[in-house]
């Protein structure tokens, strides 16, 4: 399935979340968004964001200060 990639490297709270919210809005239910961020606070924040919005945080990983989140839009 195709995946939208959102690059928010260098952006600080709350911009990664605000940009992700916008990107998710454009997805069909079940669609995938990959967020690439450098804000260390985004680790906990995307967890909370997904829990509260009914989207699924499928995976998250960190590599050299770059955080990648895979989010699946809820139904």
């Amino acid at each position: 399935m195709s995946k939208t990639v959102l690059d928010v490297k260098g952006l600080n709270c709350p911009l990664p979340i605000l940009r992700a919210k916008k990107a998710i809005k454009d997805l069909a239910p079940g669609g995938m968004l990959e967020v690439v961020a450098t804000d260390p606070g985004s680790v906990k924040d995307f967890d909370a964001f997904c829990r509260q919005t009914g989207n699924v945080l499928v995976s998250q990983k960190e590599d050299g200060g770059v955080y990648t989140f895979e989010i699946q839009k809820g139904a």
Binding site: N12, P14, L15, L18, K21, D39, F49, Q52, T53
Partner: protein, 162 residues
């Protein structure tokens, strides 16, 4: 359980550059998480609704203010605020930091709040007190008083005073 159907209100009483951040960060984030958000701007908070923003920080009264500089932290003693040019210097230092650290501008956050349909109420009493004109403020505002806020707040899950 998600945040759908939940709501938040904020009373915004301060209009300096630093104090403008907490309400707009929280309002935009809550809206992005699906909450209905109401902001009630009163007293100095009302300046955050002007069409053109010219926000400043002051060292006066910010006793714990310190800013990073050359790997250290420079404290901003209260007394220095009395010197001419100090607030201007502190303001430009903070604006530089905001840009450098990828922090949104207040203009950007306010626009995001408007886009997210955050309900914004301007305190009518403060409008009269400080002789503000509706034409000087951004569009889409409601003008009302304490009773309107209280009615909203009684139905909100989160109510904050900033």
């Amino acid at each position: 359980m998600t945040a759908a159907g939940k709501s938040m209100s904020l009373i915004v009483t301060k209009g300096s550059l630093d104090w403008a951040y907490p309400p707009f960060v929280l309002a935009t984030t809550a809206a992005s998480m699906g909450l209905d958000v109401t902001m009630f701007f009163t007293f100095y908070g009302l300046t955050l609704l002007k069409k053109t923003l010219d926000l400043k920080v002051t060292t006066l009264g910010n006793a714990a203010m310190e800013m990073p500089m050359m790997g250290m932290h420079m404290v901003m003693p209260n007394l220095m605020g009395a010197l001419p040019g100090m607030d201007g210097m502190a303001t430009s230092m903070m604006k530089d930091l905001i840009k450098k650290k990828g922090v949104a501008s207040i203009e950007e956050l306010r626009e995001a709040a408007v886009e997210a349909e955050v309900r914004m109420i301007a305190c009518q009493m403060t409008m009269d007190l400080f002789e503000y004109k509706q034409a000087d403020l951004i569009d889409g505002l409601e003008f009302a008083g304490a009773a309107t806020y209280i009615e909203t707040a009684t139905n909100c899950h989160i109510n904050l005073f900033i």
